[in-house]
Every structure is written in structure tokens, then in C-alpha cells.
């Protein structure tokens, strides 16, 4: 391997033929530098038009990046790509990612990733250890939950093995099925658990002790130390949360990293060691609660105010994990939809059981039935709420309220989900991110909407920055104060979508945690612009990348390579799915509804102005070098990114 950080080999597994081959990672380097970037290249080359999520030949692409598992802070992540089962209106190419310790272990086993095609004739799992991979019988694991299947494999091979597996939901090709490792780290969005299930692939177990090289070890260690120390509190925001004393005492609450290399304590990443079960009486449960899973017990005084209580909510969350179901879909999409329908008088029971969100029995009945496709209603829900609404012929208007587009529930967009606080004009950026993506675009949106709100006094009353400072700091990144000005309306909203687009690719390709990167704001510098040593915050990823790999890229080089990924992904969507501006505009009606929160500087709730938004779309397409009428990359743009051959291939479509 010519570059540091990479394991050097990719596994190519054909489950139909039961073959395992190895390919040099160098075949894709340096241009397609890891994770999502490499996956885009593979997908363009290997996913022909007409390929569906469950077609045996549809590749499931699981890739780490050069930083994965290294001393780079927040770097434990792995990217999953391929045709998404959750995608709507069609199963199309998309992506997901997960944390934990699986990706680092895979690299120490000698591999940067796997490309899995075919379908095994019976349930199998992959055993990967120190440059070998074998296909093993998984008949004894089939039907098990995600936890039990991991434990079973670890019992057999050893506690140091890491297992990425699916539960009954994935086995039954439920479109909202996850694949996960440990007790909470999941490739949640995209339905890739169902894709694994369709291949009869239960799990991927990894273990390795192979060292990874570093181009400039001392520089890399120093760079990583500086960046790690620059990290702030929860999500990279100004302050660090405190543990709940009562929960520490009663349930053993503690902080736990949701991904290897994490260097902050989060509101949203807690481990509980002793939670008495409510449904499985007599059992003491343990496990992690990350992110949206904190909503399972219900949140008093909010839109999600069901009353399960902590113990039952925790247990239901663990059941959902074990069955392999997507928390985000359930908690801010499906369950609010069910509650709307009940309150609207459309339904009162599901498959014979009274809808009662305060009753843990109801939740267990609902989730188990979805994962196992029991009963006609729950079988429909296993297709995801958007498809279920069509199948059942009910609640389409309510779906439009909760799901912006592409089969995914609202997320940091000011309209659907009501726990994330983001108001106009910041959600204009979210709306455009939704418009041009294939899933909820949150791996971009955390860097903009969440970051601004988190660093403002709205979400951080004591330590947050005033609006003037936020405007000034963000101007260093976006080139104009208007891009983060709370009173700027539609002005300056296209550039952040363009810029964070590249940053999103970087995070999923290097890989580093989305919640924390890119670093923009700081409490540790005089002007509140993030810096560490002589590095500026937005360059942190590049400094880590170059000193680790030895690839001598500038900030511009890394950004250019990342934008190339966006161009190729878009081209793939045009080639395989006829994606166009018309599709992008389908998000508009959702945002035309009045926002959930109010910008205190405007003092009234706002809805999207479609005409003005279309102007922002024009700006974005121009920045990307896409035709403003069709939303497709132009030949001139593709030439700029060295994609002339690809442009030629679909000349009639662009």
C-alpha cells in the first residue's frame, strides 16, 4: 500500500457463487479516497439501471476510510451504500453509516471494506480475520435478535470480535430494517438491514491485529491531539451536559462513546447498566441510548408526550434495536402518524389491539409485528410509513406533514420532527439539502442548522455566541455574513448547501463523526473561530488526512475530490433513475406548511415561499455547475471533474 491509514485490500464476496476475492484498495486511490467517495465510484461502475434493492446482484458496499480506527478523533465510523430499500418513490442509490468499533476492527483484519453481491442459498455470516474471509453457516443464528446473534458469535470466537448483524426485521426484508453493532450503533436509515436479509446474510464478524501504517506518525499524533483538545462539549457545542444523579444511582447511567475515537461527552450517548425490565419482568437490562432513542420513554410537554416512563421506554428501545428496526422512522414518523390517525378518528386499533402509546405492551406488539410482518396493518408498516399509507389507503395528508421526501421522516428541518429546534431562515438550507439528496440529508444538516442553533444562545443560553459573532465567524467559512444571519431570509442560503455538501462527503469518506465536524465555532479562541495550533477548524480533516496518508492534497484538492463524488452520485441518479429538478422540487409542498418554531428576531412563524426558494435552487445549481432547468450536471462541469467518459456514456440524458 502506497498510502498510510489504509488496510490495502477490499473484499469482493459473491454469495450466490460462494466466492471470496480480494482487490487492491489502490485501484480507487487517491481520487475516490474512502467510504462514500469510493462507494460512488463502485456504484457507477457496477449498478446498472433497473437494479432494485433486493436484486441479488445489487451490491451492498460497506467501506471504512483512511482515518477510520486511527488516532483521529471521532473516527470510528463505517459507510454503507447501495440501492436503498427505504428509498421512495423508488428504491435508489443512497447511503448510511454507523459507529462503534466494527470499522476499526475490519481494518486491523486487513480490509478497507466489502462489496457483497449475490444471494446465499441458506443463511450465512462472514468470518473475517487477519486477511482471510470465509462464508459460514448461519442457520443457528437466523431468527435471533441483533444482540443474541452478536453474543453467540462472540461466545464462539472471543470477546474481542466485533459483529455487524441484522435482526428479524432484516431477515424479513422490512424496508425500515437496520444492521447494527454493539447495543446501539446502527446503519439506521436506508433499509440496508433488509438488503442484507435479502442476501441471506445474517452477520459480518471481524477481528484483526494487523498494524496500519502512518505516513508522518509524529505529525499525525500531534495534529490529532490538538484537534481532540479543541473539541467542545456535547455534539461539539459549547457546553458539556451532566449525568442525571437519579439515573446514575438507579440505572447506572454513564457516558459511553457511540463511536471509537469520540472525544466529547454527549447529551445523546449514555449507557445504562441496570435497568429493571417492565415487560420481561425480573430481567435487568443494559445498553446504550443514543440520539433519537432518548425519545422512547416519551418527552413530557412536547409533541412526543406519551407516558411509557424511563424503564419501559428503555426496554422498548432495546427491543427495537434487537429486532433491528429504524428508531428514526418509528419515533418521529410512524408513531406520530399512528397517533394522528387515532386522533383523527381514522383508526382505533392495529391488528386488533387498541392503540395506546402509554402502554408498553402496545409498543412491543407493534414493533414485533412490524419486524415479523404479522397482521395486515403491521405488515404494511414494515414497508415504511410512506408506503404503508398507500397500501392501507389512509393518512396520506398526515404523511405529507411528517415526511419531507424520499420515504424519510423529518429531521432538523423545522417542520416534521419537533424535537430539533431550527427556525427560519436556517431551515431554508435544510429544505435545499432535502431537495437534492436521496434520503434525509442530515449528515450535511448537522454541520449547518444544528451547529448554528447549538452555538447560539437559543440552545446554549449560558455559553452560546450572540448572533453578531455567529455571523462574523460563519462569514470566514461561507464568504458572507448573510449565510448565517438570522434575519437574512433567502439570501445566502445556496452557498452553505454547496459547501456542506462537500463536507458531508468528507465526513462519510474519511471517516469522521458528523455531529462534531466540520469545526467552525469555538470558545477557545479570541474571535470564536475554531483553531488548533496553526490549523483553522475547516482544515482539520485535511491536516489529519495528509499527515496520515501522505497524499499531499491541499484544502482545495480535498474539496474538489469531495465535490467530484457529488457530481458522480448525481450522474448515477440521472442515469439510473432519471433524477431531475422536477424531483428535487417535490419537497416544496412540505416546507410550504408553517414552521414549528419561531425565530425570536422575526417573532412570527414562517412558511416556505416557493418562488423565492426556486431562486435559491437556481443559485445552488449554478454553484454546482448543473443546468438550472433540468438540475443535471453539464458536460462542461463533468469535464472539470475528470468525468468526461461518464458524461459520454449518458450523453443523451444530460
Amino acid at each position: 500500500m502506497n498510502y498510510g491509514g489504509y488496510a490495502g485490500k477490499l473484499l469482493r464476496i459473491n454469495l450466490t457463487k460462494a466466492t471470496v476475492d480480494q482487490q487492491d484498495t489502490m485501484d480507487y486511490l487517491p481520487d475516490w479516497y474512502g467510504g462514500r467517495a469510493m462507494a460512488a465510484r463502485i456504484a457507477w461502475d457496477e449498478i446498472p439501471p433497473g437494479t432494485g434493492a433486493f436484486d441479488p446482484n445489487s451490491p451492498l458496499i460497506i467501506l471504512t476510510g483512511p482515518l477510520t480506527g486511527t488516532a483521529a478523533p471521532f473516527s470510528g465510523r463505517t459507510t454503507v451504500s447501495g440501492i436503498s430499500a427505504q428509498g421512495y418513490p423508488v428504491e435508489w442509490y443512497s447511503r448510511s453509516s454507523f459507529g462503534g468499533h466494527w470499522g476499526p476492527e475490519l481494518k486491523h483484519a486487513g480490509f478497507d471494506g466489502l462489496i457483497i453481491t449475490g444471494k446465499a442459498s441458506r443463511p450465512v455470516f462472514l468470518k473475517i480475520e487477519n486477511r482471510t474471509c470465509t462464508i459460514q453457516d448461519a442457520t443457528h443464528l437466523w431468527g435471533m435478535g441483533i444482540y443474541d446473534s452478536q453474543k453467540k458469535i462472540m461466545e464462539e470466537f472471543g470477546r474481542n470480535w466485533r459483529v455487524f448483524s441484522i435482526g428479524p426485521a432484516g431477515e424479513n426484508k422490512c424496508r425500515i430494517a437496520i444492521a447494527a453493532t454493539e447495543t446501539e450503533s446502527a446503519s439506521g436509515q436506508g433499509g440496508y438491514g433488509a438488503v442484507m436479509g435479502s442476501k441471506n446474510l445474517k452477520a459480518i464478524a471481524v477481528h484483526g491485529t494487523i498494524p496500519l501504517t502512518v505516513a508522518q506518525p509524529e505529525t499525525f499524533r500531534k495534529v490529532c491531539n490538538l484537534i481532540r483538545k479543541e473539541a467542545h462539549g456535547s455534539h461539539g457545542w459549547p457546553h458539556t451536559p451532566k449525568l442525571d444523579r437519579n439515573k446514575v444511582k438507579k440505572f447506572g447511567e454513564r457516558y459511553q462513546a457511540c463511536t471509537q475515537g469520540c472525544a466529547v461527552r454527549c447529551y445523546d450517548a449514555r449507557f445504562y447498566t441496570t435497568v429493571p425490565a417492565v415487560l420481561q419482568r425480573g430481567k435487568i437490562l443494559s445498553g446504550q441510548v443514543d440520539c433519537i432513542a432518548g425519545l422512547f420513554p416519551g418527552l413530557k410537554g412536547s409533541f412526543y408526550n406519551w407516558k411509557l416512563g424511563f424503564e419501559a421506554g428503555f426496554e422498548i428501545g432495546q427491543i427495537a434495536n434487537d429486532l433491528g428496526l429504524n428508531h428514526w422512522e418509528i419515533l418521529v414518523g410512524m408513531v406520530p402518524w399512528i397517533r394522528f390517525l387515532k386522533n383523527d378518528g381514522v383508526i382505533s386499533k392495529i391488528d386488533g389491539m387498541e392503540i395506546n402509546l402509554d402502554n408498553p405492551e402496545f409498543w412491543a406488539f407493534l414493533l414485533r409485528g412490524i419486524a415479523k410482518k404479522e397482521g395486515s396493518f403491521r405488515s404494511a408498516l414494515s414497508e415504511g410509513t410512506v408506503r404503508a399509507s398507500k397500501i392501507l389507503g389512509i393518512g396520506e395528508e398526515r404523511v405529507k406533514q411528517l415526511f419531507p421526501a424520499w420515504g424519510y421522516a423529518g429531521h432538523w428541518d423545522g417542520h416534521g420532527d419537533r424535537i430539533n429546534y431550527v427556525f427560519f431562515p436556517y431551515w431554508v438550507v435544510s429544505a435545499l439539502q432535502w431537495a437534492v439528496d436521496t434520503r434525509d440529508p442530515i449528515s450535511s444538516a448537522h454541520g449547518y442548522g444544528q451547529n448554528i442553533m447549538g452555538w447560539s444562545k437559543i440552545c446554549s443560553p449560558e455559553l452560546g455566541l450572540d448572533w453578531n459573532t455567529i455571523k462574523k465567524v460563519s462569514a470566514k467559512v461561507y464568504g458572507s455574513e448573510k449565510c448565517a444571519d438570522p434575519e437574512s431570509g433567502y439570501t445566502g442560503k445556496a452557498f452553505p448547501v454547496w459547501w456542506h455538501g462537500q463536507r458531508s462527503v468528507m465526513k462519510d469518506s474519511l471517516t469522521v463523526g458528523d455531529q462534531v465536524f466540520p469545526r467552525i465555532y469555538s470558545l477557545k479562541t479570541e474571535d470564536n473561530f475554531a483553531r488548533a495550533g496553526n490549523m483553522e477548524g475547516p482544515s482539520f480533516e485535511r491536516f489529519m488526512f495528509t499527515s496520515l496518508t501522505g497524499i499531499p492534497w491541499s484544502d482545495n484538492d480535498l474539496e474538489h475530490a469531495s465535490e467530484r463524488v457529488i457530481q458522480l452520485e448525481r450522474l448515477l441518479l440521472v442515469r439510473n433513475f432519471n433524477r431531475s429538478r422536477k424531483d428535487d422540487e417535490s419537497v416544496i409542498p412540505y416546507f410550504e406548511k408553517t414552521e414549528q418554531q419561531t425565530n425570536p428576531l422575526i417573532a412570527q412563524k414562517v412558511a416556505l415561499d416557493a418562488q423565492k426558494f426556486k431562486g435559491v435552487m437556481d443559485e445552488y445549481y449554478t454553484l454546482r455547475g448543473w443546468n438550472t432547468e433540468t438540475g443535471k450536471p453539464t458536460k462542461k462541469t463533468l469535464k472539470r471533474f475528470g468525468l468526461e467518459k461518464e458524461a459520454e456514456e449518458i450523453a443523451e440524458k444530460i
Partner: protein, 134 residues
């Protein structure tokens, strides 16, 4: 006695200490080059660490047939004199904490040497799980 103090009960399992230790010691990301190791217990959350306790009366020193283990005056910790060590491995067997490790490259084992008084693992931990008491 200079020593690392590790509060495993508040460890988040991020692995930074182990990864950075290996990087400093070997210039590689090598799980087998780390002199502090995090034993993750992913389903119970009760992680623990393997590291040198810098014992007052170390078993490793006691069993060493060539007296290769000595107190480093700079760091205040026990260290192996690689010029004397014959690689018999008795110290590996004797350590009650499993903190004397086999090396990939040589018969000479290795242990935490407290990085000459500025331990890399302490620097790498953002949560004060690991501190250095000199």
C-alpha cells in the same frame, strides 16, 4: 511511586488512550503495540484497562533472572533495560495485571514506561479517566 491512575468506571470506551499509545510507541496503528489496553465490555458497559500499576515491589522485577528491570529516574516508573534483557519471558508470566506484553519485533517484552514522564495516554484522554501521578 509515579504511576498512571485509571478510573475505569468513568471510561467511555473511546479507545483513544490505546490507539495513541501504540502510535507513539511504534509509529503505527497497531493494537499489539499498546502498553495500555482497553478491555471493552460492550454489553455490560463495564470496561476495564490493562496497564502497569508501577508496583512498589514488582513481581516482574523479582522474577527477572538478569535484573533488567530498573527504576527510570526521569519518569519515576519501572522500565526494561533492553541491553540486559535476555527475552526469557518470565516477567510476562509473573505480572499479576497482564501488563507486560510480548513484542512483534523482538523477544524483548515491553511495558508502559510512562513516556518519560508525559504519558501519551493521559494526553489523549479528554475525560480525565487516566491521570499521571508523578
Amino acid at each position: 511511586m509515579a504511576s498512571l491512575v485509571v478510573k475505569s468506571d468513568i471510561c467511555t470506551g473511546c479507545m483513544n488512550c490505546q490507539v495513541v499509545c501504540a502510535l507513539k510507541r511504534s509509529g503505527l496503528h497497531d493494537p499489539e503495540a499498546a502498553a495500555i489496553r482497553v478491555n471493552l465490555h460492550l454489553f455490560s458497559g463495564n470496561h476495564n484497562h490493562t496497564y502497569c500499576r508501577q508496583c512498589e515491589f514488582p513481581r516482574c522485577k523479582e522474577v527477572c533472572p538478569v535484573d533488567a528491570i530498573y527504576k527510570n529516574q526521569t519518569s519515576g516508573g519501572w522500565q526494561i533495560n533492553e541491553n540486559i534483557c535476555v527475552g526469557c519471558g518470565e516477567c510476562i508470566k509473573a505480572c499479576d495485571f497482564g501488563a507486560m506484553f510480548k513484542s512483534r519485533q523482538s523477544v524483548i517484552p515491553f511495558k508502559c514506561d510512562l513516556c518519560q514522564g508525559t504519558p501519551a495516554c493521559v494526553e489523549a484522554c479528554n475525560f480525565d479517566v487516566i491521570t499521571f501521578e508523578g
